[in-house]
Symmetry: D2
Subunit: 342 residues, 4 copies
């Protein structure tokens, strides 16, 4: 195996998913695994599903531990990636699953995160126009947020084709792993099973400016996004229901044609056949995005629904896919092409 | 006990929930229980949770079985209520949980249901303006659909107060009981657990015209509704995320004030304190509606989220509440005031 | 309303369930609500389903707050009930949902809990022989543990009738609320959904000596219990699969007859008809116990399966039922006779 | 790719899981996919997670369709495999996921299945003594049942080492996929979520004689199994709690030592470190078996708990593992070594 990879933040859900994928990647050998407060623990006591690495002991997230790898995946709390990356050689590939380097607008960063802007790295959503080229040979990659992955792929073609008014309304459901392993009462199993609830209502969710950035780029002008995330009683998955007022000419068939063309060569994006709608359960554990479109003539809106696995395509899968591109490997190498269902 | 009640359709989820509520109602005695293809079965073999009635045997849904009761609850497939009701005395209270008598617009009925319009009965959502008065002494009541219950209560105050543009966007999640007991592959537990999916996208869901009717009445003019229902991995509950463009002056505080005033005397509708958002798990099994509002200044939209139990307030609870009003009993009598959580 | 009740520990799951039941109890008025670290909080922020009491503020658990009530329910961590009870008048009814006063064997207490034994109170499982009489007029009641409720009712008749060898094997699944609201990683929704796991294997669970006590009393001699609890991906419910080697003569029909006779007059215990097996979903939120028996001729064992709701019959329902008996109220008053399903 | 594989029964859960695994297998190319009543359908409409094969059309299960492959996987209803296999060349590897060829005792087959015994094939559980050798070069393989996989691996070492009395008690929970895609009311999502229930109680489950066969072989004499399966609210996974009376000398450490030695060289079986217990969520989607042992000194029993994914190691993973052995490929090739969690 040619590629030696370290994972910083290996005790969390994103880090664990990266390891699950790397365990099946034919060209990657897993090196150092690090953690914050969990450093010193046996990985198997925290991530018992990672059987091949169960006896590994988590190390501190320090430059000396991380150096000497070809790739370093960062699955750290927001705000910590910059310092870690700076300490690593420029020719080491650093793939950051955090938010730090996603936004190009420093003021948007400042407003939503409240800290100085760290910078902007090539964006790990190769299906967006121009993004794939920017990833080839890159040594620094910012993996998109899970919601922006789903929403950007759902609406970018409509905006790129001039089909919709620049005011998007998005309501998305996420599995609980999207909230991480934080010990909060509302994330207890007793609380989430059998219950749905919104959070971050009213435009305050930190993924909002990332969606605005991507959709505005597609539209060639400012697009607003009314975004309401909801927490669903399932461990994984994002179902994003996205809509915007249709512009003249945006009927069922033209809309469909635009989407089919936009994604016809993409290995991981499927516009489902007519009459079939995405289900998060069909993409669980895979790097796939399932999409479907409709036009509501009465309400005058284009509706696009996208399903992704928040941890796979929405985080770790997007990270590995971007790594493959950056390193010149086949883009789909080692990534699950089929979902785990039921 | 003064009131003798029959339940037609007692083997389904709506009928079962009516019985659960009646079992705890101090003024109701349960009489005949009927079913379609399940007639002849012991109720306990179909609804094992209804322990007090487990040994009852389901009868055929015929006029002779249903007559001789003070109240007849109909929980039948759409299109069957008219004939049954016609055969019952005019002074018997008939509470229909089906769609047949909800719509006032015959052409909307025809378009969405494809059959001749049966008529229009007093509408069993007493929290809407004027509705409670129409229910007093009524002998025929059309119980609202589960989605329209949540969505109408979520948006009617904004429209009645002239706060929002008449183009509503609604994305709602429902528990699987909303789809009934039909044996369809996508409703199997293996398929729904861990998965979310939309259905009836693009304005084709049959509850759409009912929302349009209620919101247009509140607005005093036509309101369009872009409605996307989604199926969530939980047995019960509706979480409706409703939004519309804010009109000038519709800031956070004015919107909140309108909602608090609209529902200040309602026993079952709570506008939650600021910072708290509805969760379906908090209303499970109760007749409660939990609401919260926000204004997204960037996107220029009012967002209102409502949580109800689709089977309780959304169906059977609304039915019993309406019965109480019609019969002159205390409106909240026998209805669960607290949810079952966790 | 004649009975004024306080609930100590109102922010936890047991305390919340007591309040849910009291909200529907026609003879009880809810007085003080207390908590530990949550004192000072609005109840609605912690228990949003308890809408009728949402605006109540939790007080400290002190004698002065709790005095002046007819009934005080204690839903406190194990070991705290003794001191609280001692400070309350002897004629106040104290119903303890903790373990402190359940065991009669001080050494068993000491071994499993590691603290001095507080004493033994009348045992709140009226369906056990002699237990109901001891509860009439009692002013101190120890509510059974949730597992012992299910297991004792499942096996006591077999032992009382001399049908089984005194070595019981019990494997039981519990919903996550049985573990309380403690913030532990393995109780996060992401961890429990889609997963089952055992805990306390090998006879170390603290409910074991309580089962041994009850079954030995039924058998009139020592009974051992091999008990394995498992955590299931559901919020509520206990399914206890209990077996023991059959003694001569213990065939299907004699066993069934013993159980039907044992529970024929019990309002909350149902031996299901042949061919029907208990499901926890059928007793959710109710005070019911569903039982079924089988004899495995090949393996020579009697198998009895019981389903209860761990929070209702297993805790709060048992507490209210015992209160009713102690106060001379109808035993089933205010208790849900039907489960909440689906 | 050298190996061309057909899957008969590709529209069911077992067939779908085989395809999920084959999609990631580096040496297998997927050929014909067949079905019964679903023949003629697009696979994607029935198994939307199998994105790589979504546009394949299911063919009839006939010899002419299945011939011309190196391997034919049969995922058919019990009783159908014999006729299909007979029509295939003797040197084609036929891997049967059905029950038909698992039992060596014709009378046990007759008693539990009610049809003539088809025969006995090499048994696809290579971790049992002698089984791996019998699979090398085999052209007919009977894949074990999901429950027997978990239970045999849990108890065989204890019996082989003479640690336990020959009367095993097993209570196991399964995810709903174990019941297949049959449209039965009790399998609806509304019914299974939030509920656990037993089935096939009293020794009547068809997997019982298979467990008896395997454990008796390990013990070198007859072992009885009291088996109670339960249905858990999760799509996948088996948690088997297995116990038997300990024979003299069977203390914690000797038992542990026996298990560690038995599985020390097995790629897919892990005896977890002390203090850690198996969780089905940790093996989801993987071919892993997680085990832990305890000795309950008070009750005098050895307790062993095993977790497997019923569809992976319990069916399709076992099938592919056996195929690898039969074909002389590396045993773990293409099989998921890490589980999918959370």
């Amino acid at each position: 195996m040619a590629v030696r990879a370290a994972v910083a933040g290996a005790s969390g859900y994103a880090g664990g998913e990266i390891l699950r994928l790397l365990a099946a990647h034919p060209e990657v050998e897993v090196g150092a695994l690090t953690a914050g407060s969990n450093a010193g623990s046996r990985l198997g006591s925290l991530q018992p599903h990672l059987t091949p690495y169960a006896d590994r002991v988590l190390e501190e997230t320090t430059p000396s531990v991380l150096e000497g790898h070809d790739v370093v995946f960062l699955a750290l709390p927001h705000g910590q990636s910059g310092a870690v990356a700076e300490a690593l050689d420029e020719d080491v590939l650093v793939v950051d699953c955090g938010a730090d380097f996603r936004l190009s607008d420093a003021s948007a960063w400042q407003r939503f995160y409240g800290t100085p802007h760290a910078g902007t790295w090539p964006y790990g959503l190769p299906e967006l126009p121009g993004a794939r080229d920017a990833l080839r040979g890159a040594t620094r990659i910012a993996v998109p947020g899970c919601y922006p992955t789903a929403v950007s792929l759902a609406l970018a073609p409509a905006y790129a084709a001039g089909l919709a008014e620049p005011e998007a309304v998005v309501v998305a459901a996420t599995g609980t792993s999207g909230a991480g392993k934080a010990l909060k009462p509302h994330l207890l199993g007793s609380e989430v099973m059998g219950s749905m609830s919104p959070y971050g209502v009213g435009g305050v969710h930190r993924h909002t400016p990332e969606m605005v950035q991507n959709l505005s780029a597609a539209a060639g002008g400012p697009v607003s996004v009314s975004f309401t995330p909801t927490l669903a009683p399932m461990p994984r998955g994002i179902l994003a229901t996205c809509s915007a007022k249709a512009l003249p000419g945006a009927g069922d068939e033209p809309v469909r044609a635009v989407y089919e063309k936009a994604y016809q060569d993409e290995p991981f994006v499927t516009v489902l056949p007519e009459g079939h709608w995405p289900a998060t359960g069909a993409v669980t554990g895979s790097n796939n995005v399932h999409l479907q479109t409709a036009v509501d003539a009465d309400a005058g809106r284009i509706v696009v629904v996208a399903a992704v696995d928040n941890l796979t395509k929405g985080t770790a899968g997007g990270a590995v896919q971007s790594m493959n591109i950056a390193l010149g490997l086949p883009e789909a190498l080692g990534l699950p092409a089929a979902g785990l269902a039921p």
